[in-house]
């Protein structure tokens, strides 16, 4: 630690420049990372909303309906199926029109068809499920919002691709800029590195102080980025509360672990902090490794 501090003190401008670049990169990464996580969470949430509603003919026996339901559940493409019997449909109708006695008088449970509300595991399965249902007997009508599903699928795929490209670019840019910054710093030490090589220092010995300093700057910059980001999130929390009103839970799947991102919680923030610190440590140490390579060929 003493050596790191001495090195920073002896080349303060280069260290500060590297710190600023790291801070900017990590702060931007943090904002993007959290925004994309929320976008994914929202998409996951929306993906659970589209459904196929299938209305059966009035006199279809319940057994036939249950048979279709069971076959769909066994397909592995459906997360949930809700059976709405004629009586359930009538109760919903009554609830919806409780202030209009005239409408209530006109309708009885007999004329309302039984139905299944089908929630697919992924929107991509919905057209397939709809086609399957249309081929069944006793079906009166199959409803699903094809346009919305298609748009959602396009949005999901575009977001994933854009995120991949942007992150790749961001990582490449960070490493190139940081390498250049560290090269400026190391250029001042060229004669020292050559001397160390000539007196028998290993490459690791020569690299170690640069990598340690970069790690220190990377972790400091990520901690500061996280601190400032957290303050911004806390400041905008009331706005977020109203924006996500009605959504009780947003989550993303991380290596088969269901991570809750909304409401904001300590686990999510801890994962963000660890991720951004690791990212800062990795890009700063990779950049210093590349930069020192240039002078280790003596």
């Amino acid at each position: 630690m003493k050596d790191i501090w001495t090195s920073i003190r002896r080349t303060p401008y280069q260290s500060f420049s590297a710190f600023l670049i790291l801070f900017f990169t990590l702060f931007l990464t943090l904002i993007l990372f959290v925004s994309l996580t929320f976008l994914y969470g929202t998409l996951n949430y929306l993906e659970t909303k589209p459904q196929v509603t299938v209305y059966f003919q009035n006199k279809t026996p319940e057994n036939n309906i249950f048979k279709v339901r069971d076959e769909l559940m066994g397909s592995g493409k459906v997360s949930n199926i809700k059976y709405i019997s004629k009586n359930d449909a009538y109760n919903i109708y009554k609830q919806l029109n409780k202030d209009n006695p005239l409408l209530l008088e006109m309708v009885s449970a007999d004329i309302l068809p039984p139905s299944l509300e089908i929630y697919a595991k992924k929107p991509i399965y919905l057209p397939e499920i709809a086609e399957y249902l249309k081929k069944q007997g006793d079906i009166d009508e199959v409803q699903y919002e094809k346009d919305i599903i298609d748009k959602l699928l396009v949005l999901t795929n575009t977001t994933r691709m854009a995120a991949l490209i942007f992150f790749s670019y961001l990582i490449l840019m960070s490493i190139v800029v940081l390498t250049t910054m560290i090269l400026f710093k190391i250029a001042l030490k060229e004669s020292e590195i050559i001397l160390l090589k000539l007196i028998g220092a290993t490459n690791f010995y020569i690299r170690k102080p640069y990598i340690m300093e970069s790690l220190f700057l990377g972790i400091t910059a990520s901690t500061l980025s996280f601190g400032i980001f957290s303050l911004i999130v806390l400041y905008f929390n009331p706005f977020l509360q109203s924006y996500f009103k009605g959504i009780t839970d947003l989550s993303v799947d991380v290596f088969n672990y269901n991570l809750t991102i909304w409401p904001l919680n300590y686990i999510f923030f801890s994962i963000i902090f660890v991720s951004i610190s690791l990212f800062g440590a990795v890009i700063s140490s990779v950049a210093s490794y590349i930069a020192t390579n240039k002078y280790l060929r003596v």
């Binding site: 000539l198 007196i199 010995y205």
Partner: protein, 240 residues
Amino acid sequence: MVNGCGTGGNRKIITMITFDKVTKKFPLGNTALSDVSFEIDDKQFVFLVGQSGAGKTSILKMITQEIVPTSGSIIVDDFDITDKNFSQKIDLRRKIGIIFQDFKVLSDKNVFENVAVSLKVLGIDHSEIKNKVNKALDLVALSKKEMVFPVQLSAGELQRVAIARAIVGDRDIIIADEPTGNLDPKTSWDIMKIFKKLEGKKTIIIATHNTDIVNSFQKRVLVLQEGKIIKDQRKGGYEL
């Protein structure tokens, strides 16, 4: 080290450095060394002399493997450094202390740190470093300036720091490339006195064209001209 039979009685002479038919041609065609062969014994004191461009520095750089010969073989201690499979460059360099004409003292480190760096690369313990550095600074008469930074030192003092750095790690071979080249005559003599103190303790190779110093030391002299050894005097001086 290569053991051999000495010519004077039964005393065993150990060869520290062997150059056998070494030639170095650079890509643009100029020849730095041409068919150079010589042996330097352990703890021998040798001057490499010759005009600029004669090949003195090339020999020193080959000993440290900064450059490799185009042909021929070089053995330093137990290392055949011209072997295609040679992979002990770090171990080789850890046996050699180097002194440069331009000192190469690190400007952002004080005297103590500059000398200590030679031990740190060897992985020596911190407390041991302090003792050894203090002894080396005593030898070069810089004990009172261990906390001073290079900017506050004279050229002679800077060279003494470089010598302390070269000798501190108990390295077997000391090579010095024009160690007095940037110094005035009086300071040059002071520096050479330090080398004199090391005589018989280390293998010392000094590249120089300072005739006065070479003549007064009366040590072995290898005279180079246009990349060839033209004279190998076991004892004595020379003239340019």
